[in-house]
Amino acid sequence: MAFFGFKHGVHPPEEKGLTSGLPIRRMPYPDEIVLPLRQHAGKPATLCVKVGDYVERGDPVGLADGYMSVPIHASAAGTVSAIGLWPHPDGSYAQSVRIAVDKYALQAARPRMVPQWAGLSVEQVIKAVQDAGVVGLGGAAFPTHVKLAPPKDYRVHTLIINGAECEPYLTSDHRTMVEFPERVHFGCRVMMHTLGVKKAVIGVEKNKPDAIAALERTRPTDLDVTILPMTVKYPQGAEKMLIHAVTGVEVPSGKLPVSVGVVVQNVGSLAAIAEVFDTGLPLLERIVTVTGHGLSRPANLIVPVGTKMKDLLAYCDGVTPNAAEVIIGGPMMGQALANLEAPVIKGTTGVVVLTSDEVRADAVYPCIHCGRCLEACPVFLNPSWLGDLARVKRFDEMTENHLADCMLCGSCSYVCPSNIPLSQLFQASKAALRRNPTVGAA
C-alpha cells in the first residue's frame, strides 16, 4: 500500500460524525445581510452603492479594486440601510454594507450575469471568474482568478485539488464532494482548461470513503484526473503538505507552489466556479458547517454571504448551556469569535461551538523539553526553542530558525503538555516582524 502523507503531524479528535452524514440544506434568508467590503486576500472592494439604494440579488455593492481584488455582490434583494463599520469575523471592524432584506422579493434567478463557459477564451474565463467574485473557499479567500493566471515564467504541470479537509469538525468540503461531485469535476475542467494543464489530482483523506467513491463514479473519462486517498492526519490539507503527499516534492522555503509547477485549489472553490458558470450568478452563498457539541442542532447549510452568526446559530436552535467558545473555521486554525453580530463571509468554512470541557485549560507549565512539539511540527521546526526566543523577543534569531516556514497550523500547541501557547507566540512574532522587519536585530 503506497503511503500518501507526510511525516510528523498530529491526530486531534475528528468529531466529523456530527455532520458528515447530514445532507446540505438551504438556510432561509435572514432579516438583514451585512457585507464587509474586505472578504478576501488582497485589496478590499470599493463601495458602489449608497444608503437607500435598492439592490437585486446579485447586484454588486463593491467593485474590484485592481487585479488583486474581487467585487462583492448583494446576496439578497433589499434596501441598503446603512454603510459603516461593523464587526468582522476576524475580530476587527470593517467597512460594511447593511442590507434590509426585502421580504417580498422573489430572490430568484435573474438574467445570466456570468457568461456560459463553453467557448470562452482563457482571458475571458479569468475575467468572468473575477467579475463573479470567486475566491478560494478553503478559508484564506485568495482570489481564484489570480491562481488561474500563474506567472508566465513558470510552467504549471499539475492541478492539485484539496479535498483533505483535515480540520476537525468541518464537513462542508466532504458533503460537497458527496453531493455535488460533478460540480467539483466541472470546476476542475474549467481550471485545467484555463491553466492548460493535462493532469489533475484530487487529494482526499481516507476517512471520507463516500466522497472518494462519489468522485470516482463521476470522474470524466476524457481528462487525466486522479483521486488520491491520503493518510488521515492533521495538517494534511496544508498546501505544502498536500503537494508533498501528491508529488513527493517539497515546495522550497519561501516559494509559492507554482515554483514546483503546481497550482492548488480547494474542492469548495471548484464547486463554486462550476456553480457560477452553471447558474450565471456570481458567488452569493457558500456551504458552511455549523457544528460542535455546544450547538443544539449541527448542520451543513447553504448560507447567503453576509448572514450574521447570531442568525446562523439561532437557525440551528442556538447553543447549549455549556457552550464556551464559538470558532470561525476549524478548531485548529480558526478564529474565536467575540461578537456574534459578525457575518458569514466568503472564507467562512464553518462555525464550531466548543463546550467548556473542550476548550484549552488556563494553567501553563514550564517547558519540560519532552520533544513532542518537534515530533508534531510538519515542517520540522523546533517550536520549543522558537517559543523561548519569542518570549524574549529575539525575533532575528527566530528568523534564523525558520520562523517564516511556520504556517501556524497549531500542531505544537495542540500536543504541548505544558499548554504553552506556541502557535500564538509565533503569530505574534510574525506580526512583530511584519510591522518592523528589523525589530530585535539590534
Partner: protein, 334 residues
C-alpha cells in the same frame, strides 16, 4: 437566543489531554512497583531511605520553587529516584540532605522545572557520593526480617555512623575488587546487595514498558544504553575476561536498569530529537562500561549520565532535522 459568555482565545482551540503534571505523576506512580520490590528485598529500611530523600526534595521545592510547583510532581520524582539510588542503610539525615541538594542545586538554582541541565536526582547523589563516600558505599545484605533496620539509619547528623553491621559488596564491587562473578539469575531477580532500587531488572523494565506505552518515556535512549553496554561490555570481556565481566552481567548489574529507564529518559535533561536520543544512549552506555572497567569506581551509571547531560544541548543542535523546503530544488521554469 441569549448570547453565551464567549471565550476568545488564540488558535488552536483544542488541546491534547496530556498535561505536564499528569506525565510527572504517572512517572512517579510507575515507581511504586519498584519501591515495593525494594521493600521486599531490603525491608522497611528501603522505605525509610526513600521517604527521607523525598521529604528533603519536596520541602526544598516548597521552599525554593515557584508557588504551586509541588503540584507538577517533578520534585516527587527527583526524591523517589534519589532514594532508589542510595544504599538501604544510608543514614536518613544524609538522604534528606541529598534531596535538598538535588533540588536546590540541581534544579532551583537553574530556574526550576525544565531549566536544569543535569538530572537533579543524580546531582543529589553525586553530592552524597563526594560528601559521604563511606556511607554511600556501605551495602547492607538483602533479605532478613522486614522490620529489621539496616545500617545506621538514625545516625545523628555529623557523627560517624556505625558500620559494624552485616554488609555485602555489590556484584560490581565483588567483580572489580575480588573477581567474583554473581550468578545472572540473582542479578535479574534482584537478590543481591546494592542500592535500594538496584533490585529487580525485570520489574524496572516492566514499569518502563508501561511508561513507553503511555508515551511518557521515549524508548530510544534506554534501548540504546542497554545495547551499547552489552556490546561494549562483551567486546571488552572477550579481550580480557579477567578484567571485564561479560555483557549480560553488565546490563543486569548495578544501577544500569534504573538509570537507563528512569534517569536517561528524564525529558528535561536528555536530547529532544529521536536521533539525539540514540546518540545520547549509545554514548552513555559506552561511558558506563569504560568507567566500570577502567575507572576507579565499580559503578559508572551516575557519572555517565551526568556527563552526557552536559552534551544534550550540543546533541540537540546537531541532530535537528532538515527544515521542510530548505532543500535546493530545481524550479519548474519554462
Amino acid at each position: 437566543m441569549t448570547a453565551p459568555n464567549l471565550i476568545v482565545a488564540a488558535s488552536p482551540h483544542l488541546k491534547d489531554r496530556d498535561t505536564t503534571p499528569r506525565i510527572m505523576w504517572t512517572v512517579a506512580a510507575s515507581l511504586i512497583p519498584v519501591i515495593l520490590s525494594s521493600a521486599f528485598f531490603f525491608g522497611i529500611s528501603a522505605i525509610l531511605v526513600i521517604l527521607a530523600s523525598t521529604l528533603g526534595a519536596l520541602l526544598t521545592e516548597r521552599w525554593l520553587g515557584r508557588p504551586g510547583a509541588l503540584r507538577d510532581g517533578s520534585a516527587m520524582i527527583t526524591g523517589l529516584l534519589l532514594g532508589l539510588s542510595l544504599p538501604p542503610g544510608m543514614p536518613l539525615w544524609m538522604a534528606v540532605l541529598g534531596g535538598f541538594f538535588g533540588i536546590a542545586f540541581g534544579k532551583a538554582i537553574w530556574g526550576g522545572l525544565g531549566q536544569n541541565g543535569f538530572n537533579p536526582a543524580l546531582i543529589g547523589r553525586a553530592f552524597l557520593q563526594t560528601a559521604f563516600p563511606v556511607a554511600i558505599t556501605t551495602w547492607p545484605k538483602p533479605g532478613g526480617d522486614f522490620l529489621t533496620l539496616k545500617g545506621d539509619l538514625f545516625a545523628f547528623p555529623f557523627t560517624s555512623p556505625a558500620h559494624d553491621v552485616l554488609t555485602s559488596a555489590t556484584p560490581l564491587g565483588l567483580f572489580k575488587f575480588e573477581q567474583k562473578l554473581t550468578p545472572i539469575v540473582d542479578l535479574v531477580l534482584g537478590t543481591t546487595g546494592g542500592s535500594v532500587g538496584e533490585t529487580s531488572a525485570v520489574i524496572i523494565l516492566l514499569c518502563g514498558a508501561f511508561l513507553a506505552w503511555k508515551g511518557y518515556l521515549n524508548w530510544r535512549s534506554p534501548v540504546s544504553i542497554i545495547v551499547a553496554v552489552f556490546v561494549l561490555g562483551q567486546i571488552l570481556h572477550w579481550v580480557n575476561p579477567a578484567r571485564a565481566a561479560d555483557g549480560m552481567f553488565h546490563i543486569f548489574s548495578g544501577g544500569l536498569m534504573l538509570g537507563a529507564v528512569y534517569m536517561a529518559t528524564d525529558m528535561v535533561t536528555v536530547p529532544t530529537t529521536n536521533q539525539g536520543r540514540w546518540i545520547f544512549g549509545a554514548c552513555t552506555g559506552a561511558l558506563v562500561v569504560v568507567i566500570r572497567v577502567y575507572g576507579g569506581l565499580p559503578e559508572g551509571v551516575m557519572y555517565a549520565i551526568l556527563i552526557m547531560n552536559a552534551f544534550t544541548p550540543l546533541i540537540n543542535r546537531v541532530t535537528h532535522p532538515r527544515v521542510f523546503g530548505t532543500v535546493k530544488m530545481k524550479e519548474a521554469k519554462s
